[in-house]
Symmetry: C2
Subunit: 192 residues, 2 copies
């Protein structure tokens, strides 16, 4: 039995990503964003949506760049903190005990302690309503050796990033492996 919940952003899952930027005074800032996703394979691109009222908004436009930094489950408290305070009031890297690393390819700061960092060049800006969607072309992905699988790719299980639950306003970790993609569905094709 289904229940109608109305016009709400109640879809699951959502990521817990931290967007890194430099402001006009070259001060680094960080902001947690759950409104985002991969949006293109070629060029490889990711989108994040921010309210115009955020301090990060103008910095992304000013530098035409941002980073996306992915925490692991044991950094959930830090990621949550970075979404509560504003960069107008606090130097968040220092306040959260994080280390700023300048990105190689774009004008944005990376979080050394977070295991996965993306360097993104702003290629599209789309004002939707309360939020504006920023599309960033991914110019590099930096991953800690500890989260790579035997093929050198980021493992969801090893990274164990906090997954954001929109309606509950809560975080969850990663659970059991459910099988290989583009593979387990073939059994249904073969049984046709």
């Amino acid at each position: 039995m289904k229940r109608s919940l109305g016009r709400k952003t109640l879809i699951l899952p959502a990521p817990t990503w931290v967007v890194g930027t430099y402001d006009s005074q070259d001060r680094p800032n960080l902001m947690t964003a759950a409104w985002g996703g991969i949006c293109c394979s070629k060029p490889p691109s990711v989108c994040v949506s921010l309210r115009e009222a955020t301090y990060s908004y103008r910095s992304i436009i000013g530098r035409e760049a941002f980073s996306v930094n992915v925490p692991s489950a044991d950094q959930t408290q830090i990621a949550d903190y970075l979404g509560i305070v504003s960069g107008r009031d606090v130097e968040k890297f220092a306040a959260a005990g994080l280390t700023e690393v300048r990105a190689e390819h774009v004008d944005a700061p990376l979080i050394r302690e977070f295991p996965l960092n993306l360097e993104c060049r702003l290629i599209h800006t789309l004002k939707i309503g309360l939020h504006t969607l920023f599309v960033g072309e991914i110019l590099d992905v930096k991953a800690d050796e500890s989260i790579l699988n035997e093929k050198g790719r980021p493992s969801l299980e090893k990274l164990n990033p906090p997954i954001f639950s929109t309606g509950e306003a809560a975080y969850y970790g990663i659970g059991e492996a459910l099988g290989p993609a583009f593979e387990i569905g073939k059994r249904l094709v073969e049984s046709e």
Copy 2:
């Protein structure tokens, strides 16, 4: 120690969502998409990115509508199947043993068996490259009673949707609760 992985869509997590559409002959189609996310709170909106070569692409533009259907972990094989075959060749609802339900507010089909369904009206189309990003305003969310928490909101733990791991091409379920959002980070504010 970090390793540079280059210009790739290696960010985590990604969702496993199934997009529902009607084609020009009123045939329902389904397609699994991992490139997507929430993109605005007002109007409540979600984006999904599709290649122009997909059969669903023209249907979204033709009807200015799509649905997003979220499976639970025990439906991962079906979701994977829906991403392997094309609606040009197969009537996927029938082939996957799924039941089509017409959306109430938009011209798109919903999957009865999937616990969470969104009815989306196309409000923006942004061609990025290989993929085109479609922004859908969420006109309704329909959720099975079994996945709602005590406040009537979708629970990530109860839904347990497959999370897509991009670099590994694998699915994982949801794990342990990591704490309430906009709450656990306050401990860092107070300790400043």
